[in-house]
């Protein structure tokens, strides 16, 4: 952008073409009052408060819409301007019939602020006759409350719903003095296209829109805000927990202008924090005696665990114990957990739920590129020329990344390809929708590569200079025509061609994928196929391109980075590499096991064979999240001794021998690493309940009792140890994370972090093509089980619902599980929408209501897995990917019938 020079209030300022007067002023700390402006929105020029004087312009102009030009001279605070602003405010106050005394927003209200600054007379104008029809679209809504009497009709809520969220739930209704914000036909908010993101609240300049549950719990001026990282997905949104004097989280806000979410949140982040103060939180250790949990002291509980672990260790060896770490806990806690298992217990049997979501990513991308993480950053998505979303329901599972994709398409003209069996919301924005059969991803991707090669759209220089084994790829894709793929995937060959051309010819193409790719017995193959596609077209190692796996849980990237995996130490340093083992032995002062350990599902199977006698489970809920639940539950019932460390008495904790209460994210310091490799701070905002302790403190205490003392003064100190042992985290320390996170690799304290990977060379040297042939899923539909069942997430819930289901706002819109079935199948089977049905597979059966839809192909079923009533995982199978050991959650054969 060309630089320009303009003068504001006598100061000569440098700006860029296209910048507005308001933008230039704000960039230099000059405040111009405004009410309808939000940097996330297109300028509207509606409130007339930002009027300024521009030399040579007739009359005053709105600073928010007026662009600066070279040599422009602007005045923002003349007497005339101030008088006009005062009148504008007085007109607004004539309509604004709320009083600050009882308003929750008191202290954080722009109207209040300007009213004071301009000393307005709030009775200067008579109040217009308010005569709406009295219907309020938020009546009865547990999440959001709209008060028309505080509304100044700036339209920001409507615009953010249209322009940023792109759900268009809101509108102005009526005219003149009757104008109010409404949904279509004043339908209840939860019946409209609203996704309860609460962006409308976030942009409201007054107290007109507010969280219903926050009402009366403290005025904005009296709340303490603590910046921390959201716990509901891998995006890692920065949030401010607003806490009152009673240690209560009153509301969640988010700062505009801060990466990675720029003030945007989803329903879970904004309305899902009630669990922190739930009276169901664990507050004391529990020991099961004669089948009943009894409260115990920390001393008693830890003594029992230390004694039993030492017994089992001496009787069966250290490998008789297995540990599940947690993608919800901090980096520091995951580091301590794997150190505890490896150094204090003496086994590599440590894993966590990444096994169940992105093990195939870690395995596949490590083979192809040398490191298994999102190659590019979230912000870069907005400027991609083409975005290929496959197996990711982004707007539901990673809503804020969904916003970036929508922005790329709608505002910046990106071409979107969506490959998904379901008609997910992103399809609205797609240039091409490929509704391929579940489990046929390799066929689809190979056919796209066939088109690219046969139409000579591949990037020959890139292939020559940066990759190897291209010949092997050619061998596989040469004959794999779109017609051949059509027979397997059911996607028309012409659509595959169109998608291939879009992807190959855009200036930069970004692949975004998630569980739809990874949770298959061919998960690693699927990932390799995507890596091939990116290598073939040179779409790696450059901005706004790459292969981008979206990580599911808040710290699943970090838990992997910290070595909560059976085969690697922190930073993916192999436990089987003698040199690296020596390095950790020296650092930790103890001999370490040489063999890699068992994975999540393997541990459960090892219990069946009496190879694992004890389990230590920190913040995981395998009794609901693992595949083939009946088998998992039998295993955790059978195991001799089980410790569960959690914030709630989960389905898994019910089976434990000892339960330890831990602190949740809002009660502790630490870091999470988000899906774009950004290490971000977690900060303590409230005091923990009862005797709950930090996970790392519990583990250190226990290690000491088992004869391996570990002591740290703080989470920051643990990070220093991590940095010393983990090259990719080498430059990370708490003092560098104060205002923004750092993206690894960050090898030293001077390093600014890495925005995108593989710029000049791949981590492994050259990018490697892998010939991947199509293989059918482990289970295909047949006579007895004629449907294909897929499982996954939905927008409102997280994981096993332990946290989100405590929220009244969320419960109102998502009270229970369901199975999606195509309308024609439903008619054939006599199933009505909302009717109870039984879904069965070879492993189990569950009863749940049917949701009849046309957003799914005929012959397919979909179930969210969050609900303990009707648990989807009673149906899923534990057939594993041979390389990554990830189970095939996405495809199994099922039957459905109406329950009479």
């Amino acid at each position: 952008m060309p630089e320009i020079k303009a003068t504001i209030n006598g100061n000569v300022l440098m700006g860029s073409a296209g910048q507005t007067v308001l933008g230039l002023a704000q960039a230099h700390g000059i405040e111009i009052p405004n009410l309808c402006h939000d940097p996330r929105l297109r300028p509207a020029g509606a409130c007339r408060l930002c009027l300024v004087e521009v030399a040579g312009q007739r009359g005053l102009v709105p600073a928010c819409t007026f662009q600066v030009a070279d040599g422009m001279v602007v005045q923002t605070e003349t007497e005339e301007i101030r008088a006009i602003r005062k009148t504008v405010l007085e007109l607004l106050f004539a309509e604004h019939r709320g009083i600050c005394t009882t308003c929750d927003k008191n202290g954080d209200c722009r109207l209040q602020k300007y009213g004071y600054e301009y000393q307005i007379a709030d009775t200067a104008f008579a109040a217009p006759e308010a005569n709406g029809n009295g219907k309020n679209y938020t009546t009865g809504n547990e999440a959001i409350r709209y008060r028309p009497e505080k509304c100044i009709r700036c339209g920001r809520c409507i615009r953010i719903c249209q322009e940023v969220q792109m759900d268009s739930a809101l509108t102005f209704k009526d005219r003149a003095a009757w104008v109010e914000v409404s949904t279509a036909f004043e339908m209840p908010l939860n019946d409209s296209t609203c996704k309860l993101c609460g962006q409308c609240i976030s942009t409201c300049p007054t107290g007109a829109l507010y969280e219903r549950a926050a009402g009366g719990k403290g005025q904005a001026k009296d709340l303490t805000r603590t910046r921390t990282t959201c716990i509901y997905c891998g995006v890692g949104c920065q949030i401010d927990l607003n806490v009152n004097g009673n240690n209560q989280i009153v509301r969640v806000t988010s700062p505009v202008g801060v990466v990675p979410n720029n003030g945007n949140l989803c329903v879970k982040g904004r309305f899902g924090m009630e669990f922190v103060q739930s009276d169901k939180r664990l507050t004391t250790p529990l020991i099961k005696r004669d089948g009943v949990f009894q409260e115990a002291t920390w001393d008693e509980a830890l003594a029992v665990i230390a004694a039993r672990f030492n017994e089992i260790k001496s009787a069966y060896g250290a490998d008789g114990i297995g540990g599940l770490s947690s993608a919800k806990c901090t980096n520091e806690e995951n580091y301590i957990f794997q150190k505890f298992m490896r150094a204090a217990v003496g086994t590599n049997n440590v894993d966590h739920c990444a096994r169940l979501c992105h093990a195939s990513t870690v395995a596949g991308l490590a083979k192809a590129f040398g490191s298994g993480a999102m190659t590019n950053s979230i912000d870069e998505i907005k400027h991609a020329g083409c975005i290929f979303v496959i197996g990711s329901n982004t707007t539901e599972a990673h809503p804020v990344i969904g916003l970036a994709i929508k922005e790329a398409v709608v505002r910046n003209g990106a071409k979107l390809i969506v490959a998904d069996p379901r008609g997910i919301d992103l399809v609205r924005f797609a240039a091409v929708h490929l509704a391929h059969q579940p489990g046929t991803d390799v066929a689809l991707i190979n056919a796209m590569m066939n088109v690219i090669v046969s139409e000579k759209l591949h990037n020959e220089p890139f292939i020559r200079e940066r990759t190897e084994d291209f010949a092997a790829l050619l061998e596989v894709v040469r004959d794999f025509t779109p017609e051949k793929a059509e027979a397997i995937t059911t996607v028309p060959a012409e659509a595959i061609r169109q998608a291939a051309r879009l992807y190959a010819t855009a200036p930069s193409s970004s692949i975004i994928y998630s569980m739809g790719i990874t949770q298959h017995t061919t998960g690693t193959d699927n990932v390799l196929a995507l890596a091939n596609l990116a290598l073939l077209t040179g779409n790696v190692g450059k901005e706004s391109a790459g292969v981008n796996p979206l990580r599911g849980q808040n710290n699943v990237q970090g838990a992997c980075d910290m070595g909560a995996l059976p085969n690697v130490y922190p930073g993916y340093q192999s436990v089987e590499d003698a040199l690296l083992r020596v390095k950790f032995q020296q650092a930790w002062g103890v001999a370490l096991p040489e063999q890699k350990g068992l994975t999540v599902v393997e541990m459960m199977h090892a219990v069946e064979h009496d190879e694992i006698k004890a389990l230590y489970i920190m913040g995981e809920n395998p009794a609901l999240s693992d595949p083939n639940l009946n088998r998992t539950r039998k295993a955790i019932e059978k195991v001799d001794f089980m410790v569960v460390q959690d914030i709630f008495l989960t389905e898994t904790a019910e089976y434990a021998d000892v339960v330890l209460p831990s602190t949740c994210f809002a009660e502790k310091d630490g870091t999470f690493t988000n899906t774009e490799r950004r290490v971000q701070r977690v900060r303590k905002a409230v005091v923990p309940p009862g005797e709950a302790r930090h996970d790392w403190e519990i583990l250190c205490d226990l290690a000491g009792r088992m004869g391996y003392p570990m002591a740290y003064g703080s989470a920051a100190q643990i990070m220093d140890e991590i940095a010393a042992l983990t090259p990719i985290y080498g430059g990370i320390s708490f003092d560098r994370l104060q205002t923004a996170g750092l993206q690894w690799p960050c090898p030293n304290r001077q390093h600014p972090g890495t925005k995108y990977l593989h710029t000049d060379r791949f981590t492994r040297g050259k990018g490697k093509f892998h010939a991947v042939a199509f293989q059918s899923p482990a289970e295909t539909p047949g006579q007895e089980f004629p449907f294909v069942l897929s499982t996954g997430r939905q927008l409102y819930q997280f994981h096993t619902g332990t946290m989100t289901r405590k929220s009244r706002a969320i419960h109102q819109v998502s009270p229970t599980g369901y199975v999606e079935v195509h309308a024609e199948d439903a008619v054939r089977l006599g199933i009505a929408d909302g009717q109870m049905v039984e879904v069965s597979t070879r492993r189990g059966r569950v009863t749940t209501p049917a949701r009849v839809t046309t957003g799914i192909e005929k012959g397919w079923l979909f179930m969210p897995f969050h609900f303990c009533e009707g648990p989807a995982n009673a149906l899923t199978q534990d057939a594993l990917d041979p390389v990554a050991k990830i189970p095939e959650y996405k495809v199994c054969a099922a039957q459905i019938r109406a329950v009479p």
Binding site: I158, A169, L170, T171, A184
Partner: protein, 151 residues
């Protein structure tokens, strides 16, 4: 819900976007006599135009009705000229004859009664308009006879 009329209206336009909303709503109102909410929601589903936007436009303009309208519309002018020439008496007379207040529709759906700011025919004041017919220099006693012409 009868969507045949909507089908016909949409079929006549190759690609519908939000900028077509006003004429679309006018056609729907002619076709159905008013704007049935169910039809508007269906139009939103078929065209991708958000229902909220349709509702915003439909409630902004006085000409659109979201509730069933009478077969005939009686409009009394309450502009300045009509007012000084006794327009208020016409409003009272119509109201008395039809047994409804302004803004309402008779139970037999024969008439909807509205008042408007100005009918633009001040030289004929006071004016009453029924459907597209103007009646100037009105007196209250002529009201019944005029209404009787509309069945």
């Amino acid at each position: 819900m009868d969507v045949d009329v909507l089908d016909r209206i949409l079929a006549a336009r190759p690609k519908v976007t939000a900028t077509d909303l006003s004429p679309l709503l006018q056609e729907i109102q002619v076709g159905y006599g008013y704007l049935p909410p169910g039809v508007l929601l269906e139009m939103s589903r078929r065209t991708g135009i958000p229902a909220s936007q349709i509702y915003g436009v439909a409630t902004f303009y006085e000409q659109f009705h979201l509730e069933p309208h009478g077969r005939h519309t009686v409009r009394c002018c309450r502009g300045t000229a009509c007012h000084v020439k006794g327009g208020h008496g016409m409003i009272q007379a119509v109201s008395r004859e039809l047994g409804i207040a302004e803004g309402e529709t008779t139970a037999d759906m024969r008439f909807t009664f509205e008042t408007v700011a100005c009918l633009g025919t001040c030289f004929l004041a006071p004016v009453v308009m029924v459907d597209k017919d103007y009646y100037g220099n009105m007196t209250p006693t002529r009201v019944r006879g005029i209404l009787d012409r509309y069945k």
